[in-house]
């Protein structure tokens, strides 16, 4: 019964479109990473920073729209153990996205390779999940998108624990603090989303 419920849940949340989207992103990440690493005028595998930032971000943005059903209130009115389902939903997505993206960065996994891809998957998905709990699935992409653009543009030149904490998406994977930051964001976002679900606007809907 749970198996059938799981299938229906995934269908209701548009999982197939998400999987298709992540596949495209994975291909693009692989192609982009290979291209950047091969440019003679750039600094080799360390030039894959844009891929490391953007690919998990795109996947997380896509995930955002699967974090709420067609009618959140209708779902909340059911006795299902939603916190467990929500947490499972996000963790499954983290696992799937990280697994797919890590594969693209296995050649030279250091600095801006597989490790950083995994870390940023944690962070971005955590941010999107947290934003879903606060803003609703419709706008969940907004904070991650804004933060991603800002951090990537700033690309702080100095290093240090504080910088590694706030600019975790653009840190080389050796910076331990960036892992703490990304994991912390994931833990917070996951907890918030699991317990609160997608935020519901109190706006009345037109009758019918």
């Amino acid at each position: 019964m749970t198996g059938r419920l799981l299938r229906l849940h995934l269908r209701a949340r548009g999982a197939s479109a998400f999987v298709a989207g992540v596949s495209v992103i994975t291909l693009l990440a692989w192609a982009g990473g290979t291209w950047l690493a091969g440019r003679s005028f750039l600094d080799g595998p360390a030039a894959r920073l844009p891929v490391v930032v953007l690919a998990p971000l795109l996947a997380a943005v896509l995930l955002g729209s699967t974090l709420a059903g067609a009618d959140e209130e209708l779902e909340r009115g059911t006795p299902l153990r939603w916190p467990a389902w929500r947490a499972g939903h996000v963790l499954l997505a983290v696992f799937a996205v990280a697994a797919a993206l890590v594969l693209t960065g296995l050649r030279v996994p250091e600095t801006f390779g597989a490790h950083a891809l995994a870390r940023n998957t944690f962070g971005w998905i955590g941010l999107v999940a947290g934003a879903t709990a606060l803003l609703g699935a419709r706008l969940a992409w907004l904070p991650a998108f804004g933060y991603g653009c800002a951090v990537y543009f700033a690309r702080p030149r100095d290093t240090g624990v504080f910088v590694a904490l706030w600019a975790w998406p653009v840190q080389p994977s050796a910076a331990a603090a960036s892992w703490w930051a990304a994991s912390g964001v994931l833990a917070l976002g996951l907890t918030g989303y699991a317990y609160r679900g997608s935020a519901v606007s109190r706006r009345p809907r037109p009758s019918q």
């Binding site: 606007s201 706006r203 009345p204 809907r205 037109p206 009758s207 019918q208």
Partner: protein, 251 residues
């Protein structure tokens, strides 16, 4: 005077024929459009609203065909439409929402402010005119929807389920408004609430399975019903009797 006429209308979604060789003539006054779910009421409304292009058939609004761009645009200026499920912009105020649609209906700019106030007043929302749409209740939203439909003083007014979500008192007021509007415009009201039809409509059309199965005055529909027909009011009994009769013929 006939101002809306439809002949040989056929509409299908894929293989499913929704309207089949339908013909209907509407003059000035309030018309009720009745019929079971899936009978094709909304599809007919959408064709008349020029939103849906029919596969076959001729549609004339205000005596003009609407096949060409010029005719279509002129017809749309004299048209008011409230769809069954209508969307709105939550951040707009009621006034802005109605004003925006006055603009979309190409009303002369000088006439817009007065027309907007009048439309909002007629649906009884004047005290909430500057509230954002997202702060309105369901019934108020529907009234705002009616206000945008009547803002341009349409000659053809199409209201799909306008009374859904209105409380009994509002429905009574709404029927009065309908009768007023029906004085100089074709008003077509699709509804499931047959009492609304009995109370407010001069004529009734009944659609079943894509065809027109009855057209006449409400009294004629009432007369069609007998004691053996199901229903709690005379007009409900007439409604079921006509439907049953139509289905027996088609079998």
């Amino acid at each position: 005077m006939t101002t809306v006429s439809v002949a040989g209308l056929q509409v299908s979604y894929g293989k499913r024929v929704v309207l089949d060789d339908l013909a209907i003539e509407l003059g000035v006054g309030v018309h009720g459009l009745l019929g079971p779910n899936g009978a094709g009421k909304t599809t007919l409304m959408r064709v008349l609203a020029t939103v849906l292009r029919p596969d076959r058939g001729e549609v004339r609004l205000l005596g003009r065909r609407i096949d060409d761009r010029v005719g279509l645009r002129q017809a749309r200026r004299r048209l008011g439409y409230l769809p069954q499920a209508f969307g709105f912009y939550p951040r707009f105020t009621v006034r802005e929402f109605v004003e925006y649609f006055a603009w979309l209906r190409e009303m002369p700019a000088a006439r817009i402010p007065l027309a907007v106030d009048r439309a909002i007043e007629r649906v009884g929302l004047l005290d909430r005119a500057d509230d954002r749409m997202k702060h309105l209740s369901g019934g108020m939203l529907r009234r705002a929807g009616i206000a945008q439909a009547i803002v341009n003083d349409p000659r053809v007014l199409l209201l799909d389920e306008p009374t859904a979500g209105l409380d009994p008192e509002q429905r009574v007021e709404f029927r009065t408004l309908l009768r007023e509007l029906g004085c100089d415009a074709v008003v077509l009201v699709s509804t499931h609430l047959v009492e609304d039809v009995a109370a407010a409509c001069a004529r009734v059309s009944l659609v079943d399975d894509g065809r027109l199965v009855f057209a006449g005055r409400p009294e004629e529909l009432i007369a069609a019903g007998g004691d053996g027909d199901s229903g709690d009011s005379p007009i409900e009994r007439g409604y079921t009797a006509v439907l049953r009769g139509a289905r027996q013929v088609s079998r």
